[in-house]
Structure formats: C-alpha cells, structure tokens
Assembly symmetry: C2
C-alpha cells in the first residue's frame, strides 16, 4: 500500500477531519497504465476507493457501514482522547454497503473467492440474505459484488438470484456459469478502480423493463 | 426501562443471534394506554423501536449505523470470544440513519433539544450537513427528526431547510415557528412509538408535486 498514501486504508490509521478527507479526495490523480488486476488491493479496498471517487464526482453516495461493536469500558485520560478498553464484536444486521444513486437505494455485500469454477454459498450469512430480501421488498437495488480473485473477474449479481440459490436445498455453491448467466460483469477501467455502477446501470435498466 | 425487556436497549446488553432477534420482534405486543410522551425513552430509542416495528411489518428497512471505531488491539482468550482491548472513536462521515422505503432512499439525523422556542444549529455537525447535501443531489429523501423534549413535539424537517439555515451567516438557531412552517409534524400513535413515516409520506407527496 506504500504506493497509495491516499488509499482507503488511511481511514483506519487515524481519524481525519472532514476537511482533510476532502483534501485527500480532491487530490486523487490519474494513474497511467495501472489497472485493478495488479494492484494488490482487496475487494473491500477497491470498492472503498471507487466509492470515494463516486462521492467526489457527485455520481453516488455509498459508504461501508462500520463494524458493529458493543462498547463496555472507556477510559478518558487527561489531555488525550478517549480510549475504548473493553468492547466486543456484535453481529451485524445488514450488509456492508448501502447508499443512494440517482434516486435509487443501493444495498450490497462484497464477496471474493479464489475458486475458479464456483462460488461457495456459505460465504453469505443468514442475516445478509434476510436483509437483502427485506430491501428487495422495498424496491431497493440489491446485489452482491462477487470477485473471482484467480480469474480477476468481477460481477454484480442480483440479490434475487443469490437468495434463490442460497435457499435451495442441497446447493452449496453457484457455478461460474450460473453467475455469468445471471450477473452483470464489471469491466475494468482506470477510474474508478472498480466501476461497478456501470454494471448497476444495466441491472437497473433491465429491472425497469420488467 | 424495566417495563420493556424487549426494548431497543437490549441490543446493547448482549449480542443476540438473528433468530432470537426475530423472536423478540415478533412478540412485540400492543401496550394499551401508553403514549410516547411518558415513557422516558430517548429519541434514539424511540426511533430504533419504531424501525424494528417497520421492519417486522415489512413497511421499511431503516437501521442506525454503528458508531465508527478504529480497532487497535484485540485479545483472543481461549474458549471465549474476542475482546477489543484498545480502540478509538472515529469521526463519522454520514448521518446516523438510512434505509429504504417503497423504493425511496431515506437518510436522516435525529436531534433533540430542551429549548422551547428554538433549535440551536450547532447540534448539526459539518459532516452531517455535507452528507445530507450529497444525498439530496442523488434525490434521496433527506431530513432531520427534531424533538422538542420539553414540548413533546416531533418534526420531520427537510434537509434542504436545515442545510440552508445552517449555512446562513449569523444564524445560530432555527426558531420553532420556522420549523413549524417548514416541517411535517409527527403525530403520536401507539404503534410504532414514533410513527415518523407518516410525516415522511407527506414530505414525499409534496416533493413529487414540485
């Protein structure tokens, strides 16, 4: 990550004020000849970086939700900021990402596998499936971003398909063929890192036609 | 809170599995003669409880975002779950609540005051104003839920008005009169605790007419 000091990991190192964050965002420069397959970023980093780009260009507002934590004990040392001394991870009740794009509510989960021919359904947890289903009932645009890391292929897979596969008895994975048939593949680009909204555009267009 | 074992605070006491949460939610019973003015709940508790009701009735999917925390050190004691031993509060970059309702993206912040005639604008932070403004550009339904605690009055105040007031030079508060003129007042009911979506319905209807 040394090459990308303004990358998404920065947010985890120290809290930045909103103003600094904007500065970082606006200074985002075009990196020639870099494509997302050789940058050693995790899928989460790729999505976070893309979301920063979408926000700075006023294309969409999508944020990753913070990890839910149950805070038990906090110290307030003199002349320095509060330190959480005892806390526990809580079970999330939603997916990791949501936001708004051209009036549409977006809700998605990001998942990756190193498998080459199928995607194991155990990667999706019950609370994620439940939440996606609830959001679908409210007419949200719900999907998974699925990365086949070894193939460097990325898909926007509609939640309706994922939910259906997940609930099918005796089905442990979605095959790559099935995913290809039911998804919108994300094509590579220089900016943003992972231009998933182009695939979402096609998904929305198909949904409107129905 | 002794009277309400299934109330929203329960979530902070111990993590519950999704299944248990459903059980709790489904067992929600009608409480005769209780109205939200005498229950000693904070605004956040009222909203969280209402969101549980909306979710269980499949009316809307709205969640409070977890507090963002930067985790530095985690212990993994044998035979028990992970304990976070050092963590810090991070600056949020969004409002506290968002979700989806009938295809609309909802985004809001909840604020209360004990003042009787005006609402101090310093209650809104720059990152909240910035975020509401960005979501408005994406056609989200953006607002604040404002509670005048001493008056027991609650308003859904459109973000456009809040942002405008916040940015006005030399303006330190919105008067109750201004808020009345620009908002949708939330009327009391038994279920949910704070039926804010009825006010949001009027807000949406007015916006569609524009």
């Amino acid at each position: 990550m040394v090459k990308y000091p303004s990358g998404s990991l920065a947010a985890f190192r120290k809290p930045v004020t909103k103003k600094e964050e904007h500065k970082v965002r606006r200074s985002y420069t075009h990196r020639k000849g870099v494509n997302f397959s050789d940058r050693g970023m995790t899928l989460e980093q790729q999505i976070n970086e893309s979301n920063k780009y979408y926000l700075s260009e006023e294309i969409a507002v999508v944020h990753k939700k913070p990890t839910p934590v149950q805070i038990v004990k906090v110290d307030y040392p003199k002349r320095s900021r509060a330190v959480i001394r005892e806390a526990y991870f809580r079970q999330a009740s939603t997916t990791d990402y949501n936001g708004v794009y051209k009036g549409y509510y977006l809700d998605f989960e990001a998942k990756e596998t190193r498998n080459k021919t199928n995607f194991p359904l155990k990667n999706f947890h019950e609370h994620q499936i439940f939440h996606l289903d609830e959001c679908l009932k409210q007419q949200g645009i719900c999907f998974a971003i699925i990365r086949f890391a070894s193939l460097e292929r990325y898909f926007v897979t509609p939640a309706s398909f994922v939910i259906h596969a997940w609930r099918e008895k005796d089905k442990s994975s979605m095959t790559l063929k099935e995913i290809e048939a039911h998804s919108y593949e994300i094509k590579s680009s220089f900016r943003p890192t992972l231009p998933y909204l182009r695939a979402v555009d096609d998904f929305i267009a198909d949904r409107e036609r129905e």
